[in-house]
């Protein structure tokens, strides 16, 4: 165990409407018993890949085997080998939890005895036994998700596909779903492929992470190794004045000890409210030197907490570069990747002062997967590239094209 590949993907592509390459010649293997995470922003091709592997979509090029079965030649065998928990809820709300499972069991031709036993077992696994006979419409979001996971496992699949398993769930529920996923993997040796655009989730759950961007694999490794590749620390400078941002950028780009400089608008890097708690947990080990450099007169306070949190990270704040200009008015931040960050901070502050740059705050942290994502794709995971209109158009076409041809 461990060395056998349960999924083999070779040069898989999906082209929608003859022009949009949602997935571009990706190849990878998944070992039996591992948790592999697809990390990427919306529209990166994660769901499209899962849909091809689950035979819901026919690939345009390439081939793949799931549990030894070819996805194009033996779709039924592939479908029996996998459980798929979709991104959006797919339960029948008018049926009870048990009836939803029973429907699934019958649809997958489980024999009566096996079906009954398996339903009980799965209900217990996700701790829904006492609510099993209530209508699903009375369930909470987390309970629905757990029921879907139970259902995905009912027919003894070898691989479980989880598409954004904790999207839209509150932090406690998210942690409980994480626990369930980990237990499944450890105790039952189920191979799990999940997609996420939460770096925290990928970091916490996955043995290996496949970073996918615009349909291509840009990195594939363990979270530790991915982070280790970024030697040094990340120093974040928060600056309010836009011209100062540019000045600071050119100032630090010249320094040899700065390996990388990236500029973000402050809002884009703000995590959604439901991820905030986790973010705060992680930040405990982080030194914050907030506000002390700020001008006394500004008074508006530049720390993150006071900024208006963005509600939907799925629809990021964007700069529209044609037509009506809606420039971001919030603070900017400069991410500097440097060696030995804590010792560099005094120097950074001194250099900034000398150049007349007002720093609102300075933060220091170890590289996270956010930084890894940034370094391999050149942009923030919560940021979409291109103008808003262009992105909306692409998203719309993808949505339309995606479902167009299912292999029923």
């Amino acid at each position: 165990m461990g060395s056998i590949s349960i999924i083999e993907v070779k040069g898989l592509s999906k082209v929608f409407k003859g022009k949009i390459r949602a997935v571009n010649r990706i190849s990878f293997n998944v070992k039996e018993g591992e948790i592999l995470g697809f990390l990427g922003p919306n529209g990166a091709g994660k769901t499209t890949t899962l849909n091809m592997l689950s035979t819901l979509l026919r690939p345009s090029e390439g081939a793949a085997k799931v549990n030894g079965f070819d996805i194009e030649q033996e779709p039924d065998a592939v479908r029996r080998s996998i459980g798929y928990v979709f991104q959006e809820p797919t339960l029948d709300l008018q049926l009870t939890g048990r009836e939803n499972l029973d429907f699934h069991g019958r649809l997958y031709h489980l024999k009566k005895e096996d079906r009954k036993r398996r339903i009980e077992e799965m209900l217990q696994l996700v701790q829904l036994t006492d609510r099993a006979d209530d209508l699903v419409k009375t369930y909470s979001g987390g309970m629905k998700r757990r029921l879907e996971i139970a259902r995905g496992l009912l027919h003894h699949p070898k691989v479980l596909f989880l598409d954004e398993p904790t999207l839209g769930l509150d932090p406690q529920t998210r942690h409980s779903i994480w626990d369930h996923i980990q237990r499944l993997n450890k105790e039952r040796r189920i191979t799990i492929i999940l997609t996420t655009h939460y770096t925290e989730e990928a970091d916490f759950l996955c043995g290996r992470i496949l970073i996918i961007d615009s349909g291509e694999i840009v990195a594939l490794d363990t979270p530790e190794k991915l982070k280790a590749k970024l030697e040094g620390d990340v120093v974040i400078l928060v600056i309010r004045n836009p011209t100062m941002v540019l000045r600071a950028r050119s100032l630090f780009e010249e320094k040899k000890w700065v390996r990388r400089v990236d500029v973000f608008s402050r809002e884009n890097t703000e995590t959604s409210p439901d991820l905030k708690m986790e973010k705060m947990h992680r930040m405990r080990g982080v030194s914050r030197i907030g506000g002390m450099m700020g001008e006394m007169g500004s008074g508006e306070g530049g720390s993150i907490r006071k900024q208006k949190p963005k509600r939907h990270e799925d629809i990021p704040e964007m700069e529209i570069d044609d037509g009506n200009r809606r420039k971001d008015l919030g603070s900017k931040q400069l991410n500097l990747l440097v060696d030995n960050g804590s010792h560099r901070i005094p120097e950074i502050v001194k250099l900034s002062e000398a150049a007349g740059i007002t720093l609102e705050s300075v933060e220091l942290h170890k590289p996270t997967l956010d930084d890894v994502f940034l370094s391999v794709t050149g942009r923030n995971i919560r940021e979409e590239k291109g103008s808003f209109v262009e992105m909306a158009r692409r998203h719309h076409i993808l949505q339309q094209a995606r479902g167009k041809r299912g292999v029923g």
Binding site: L56, P89, T90, D92, F103, L107, G403, G406
Partner: protein, 261 residues
């Protein structure tokens, strides 16, 4: 993949039954609505007209009202594939190792069974209201009528599925309801016999599958047919209905299988 799985057909049908049974308010309201039609039109218009041929207006009306209820229940059941898509349950069915044809046949037969159950309830209520003459012939006719109901409803669920698979949202259904379903209902000979309308309208009515369904129900339950089609009119009715039924099921299954998830 493309083989038909009767197990899957059965499971999907079972789900339809469960969901139908759970929506008791809907069952009660549709039966009561039909009773209102029967009572108010039967007594009101009946008092004015007296009867049609040898039969009372209430008796004439009853098979038509059953047909009306079958039409609305079955088209709505078919169109509700939109809801399955909207609430995501469709994906759960489509990722299973069974063909889309099995799923849609289960959906169509499930819808036909539930709509027919409703028709049977209205038939029984109409019987208690005195619409039918109790006899051995009626008992046999009622059994035949159940078969006819299934034929009518499976055809119209098929039509509903075809509509539901082509529409993207439920709002467009309002238009279809006004321009397709209501005309089908109004021109099916529920309230007036075909030989009382001008010839062009007669042609339209003859092209209406529900007209043949209602005529057939009338023949089963009252033993009468329209003089327009002669004594063997019921065979024509049955033939047209059967062709409609097969065509609609095929059309529904086809459009469903190529619809986006």
């Amino acid at each position: 993949m493309q083989t038909l799985s009767w197990q899957a057909v059965y499971v999907v049908l079972l789900r339809e039954l469960k969901r139908y049974w759970r929506a008791k308010a809907r069952i009660v309201s549709s039966v009561v609505q039909s009773v209102f039609f029967l009572a108010i039109f039967g007594l009101g218009l009946g008092g004015l007209i007296g009867g049609i041929g040898d039969i009372s207006y209430l008796s004439y009306l009853a098979p038509g009202i059953i047909g009306m209820s079958l039409l609305f229940a079955s088209v709505f059941s078919g169109v509700s594939v939109i809801f399955d898509r909207q609430f995501g349950f469709m994906k759960e069915m489509l990722v299973a190792p069974v063909s889309r044809t099995s799923i849609i046949l289960g959906r169509i037969f499930g819808g036909a069974v539930t709509a027919s159950l409703q028709g049977i309830m209205i038939m029984i209520v109409a019987g208690f209201m005195g619409a039918f003459e109790p006899s051995l012939a009626l008992a046999l006719g009622a059994v035949a009528a159940v078969g006819v109901m299934f034929l009518i409803t499976s055809g119209f669920v098929g039509l509903g599925v075809a509509i539901g698979s082509s529409l993207n949202d439920f709002h467009a259904f309002q238009l279809l309801s006004t321009f397709v379903i209501w005309p089908i209902f109004m021109l099916s000979g529920v309230f007036f016999p075909i030989d009382t309308v001008p010839a062009p309208l007669q042609i339209v009515m003859l092209a209406n599958p529900l007209f043949h369904g209602v005529e057939l129900l009338r023949w089963c339950l009252l033993g009468v047919g329209t003089p327009l089609l002669g004594p063997f009119g019921w065979m024509i009715n049955l033939g047209v209905l059967a062709v409609f039924n097969v065509l609609m099921i095929i059309l529904g299954a086809f459009l469903f299988s190529r619809a986006q998830v």
